[in-house]
């Protein structure tokens, strides 16, 4: 356990706690979601440091690929000012 690993771990955990704190107290929903995507990346690094590459793989696929897409889609859906019922929105394709 060298000083460098302590610096790395300290920086990583401090960044995780700070990111979680700011995303939970953030007023702008979009900002919170972007911070959550960044938090997922740091989580993957934390799994790597804990020597859990299986979980790091799952976390990488889920936080990079899935949860960002899902959350941005939902936030985009609920921010349009007037919702229209789905049966009126017919497509042309």
């Amino acid at each position: 356990m060298t000083a460098l690993t302590w610096i790395f771990d300290g920086l990583l955990t401090a960044a995780m706690v700070y990111l979680a704190w700011s995303l939970l107290s953030e007023r702008d929903l979009f900002k919170a979601v972007v911070l959550f995507i960044a938090f997922g990346l740091l989580m993957a690094l934390a799994w790597v440091r804990l020597r859990a590459p299986d979980i790091a793989l799952a976390e990488a696929a889920i936080s990079a690929g899935l949860s960002g897409v899902l959350l941005l889609d939902a936030v985009g859906a609920i921010r349009s000012p007037n919702p229209v019922p789905e049966d009126t929105s017919s497509d042309s394709g």
Partner: protein, 270 residues
């Protein structure tokens, strides 16, 4: 924990002006719950202290189940201890997990109002060409990576979950690019693909239970091939479940202006 800002401060980045009555209402509400909030903050700090103490008070060493897993690796049929735990030693966990995922997708499908109605198309105008290129390049690589992770799960980190997540990501990309007409999927195909993993898992479980008289105890010689069979079908089902959760419910909230804009010059190719 206690330095949480009250909700009365206006956000700096707000675009739409809020009605004054709404802000006053928020202020009143905050005053009303002020005491409860302080008490709750104290409670959370207490919980934090308790958990800190618990973690620091843990014995520095504990035997764990590592030795047991290591001793039984030779009968598991795979070389990666985590895959062995997931699909052999604690196979029923994974079986129930598949059931839970299936329930989530069923919940999503129940919320469809009219399954026959046409899908609301996702907005297509911005970034059309770039997205087309991305789909052409990335989808084959993603499928290859999913296959690789499935194969690697036998002896290294990887496996059904990771492969399923990558498959789902490929599906998300297709949905975002209007290449996957989710609502055109025949109902029977949708149901089959969602439940395929569970069906295979339950079939294997029943057969080996009858043969060995033990729930999910694979015969030693066939364990590897059975686990591979389960992993492939479970990965596919996890991918389908996640795609259903993303695309099973059409984007319903769109402004008329946005509608007009999106349909003006971007008809998706069939």
């Amino acid at each position: 924990m206690t330095s949480n800002k009250s909700p009365t401060t206006e956000p700096a980045s707000t675009r739409r002006p809020k009605s004054s009555s709404g802000a006053a209402g928020v202020r009143e509400f905050a005053a009303e719950i002020g005491f409860a909030r302080v008490a709750f903050n104290l409670l959370v700090v207490l919980l934090l202290g308790l958990l800190f103490w618990t973690v620091l008070d843990l014995p520095p060493q504990s035997a764990g189940l590592h030795a047991k897993v290591k001793a039984h690796m030779h009968v598991s049929g795979v070389a990666s201890p985590i895959t062995a735990v997931l699909l052999n030693f604690r196979g029923y966990d994974t079986l129930l997990e598949i059931v839970v995922l299936l329930l989530a997708s069923i919940g999503c499908l129940i919320l469809r109002d009219a399954p026959q109605s046409h899908p609301a198309l996702a907005p297509g105008r911005p970034g059309k060409w770039v997205l087309d290129g991305m789909i052409h390049v990335l989808i084959p690589v993603m499928l290859l990576t999913a296959g690789y992770l499935l194969w690697a799960g036998d002896h290294a980190p990887g496996g059904a979950f990771q492969a399923g997540a990558v498959l789902a990501a490929a599906g998300f990309l297709l949905v975002l690019g209007n290449r996957m007409r989710f609502w055109r999927t025949p109902e029977w195909l949708l149901r089959l693909s969602l439940s395929f993993g569970m069906i295979v898992f339950v079939l294997v479980a029943s057969v080996v239970t009858i043969l060995t008289k033990n729930l999910l105890q694979y015969p030693e010689n066939y364990a590897g091939i059975l686990i591979l069979l389960i992993e492939i079908s479970v990965a596919g089902s996890i991918g389908c479940v996640l795609i259903t959760l993303f695309a099973g419910h059409p984007p319903v909230t769109r402004t008329p202006a946005a509608d007009q804009l999106w349909h003006s010059n971007d008809e998706p190719k069939e």
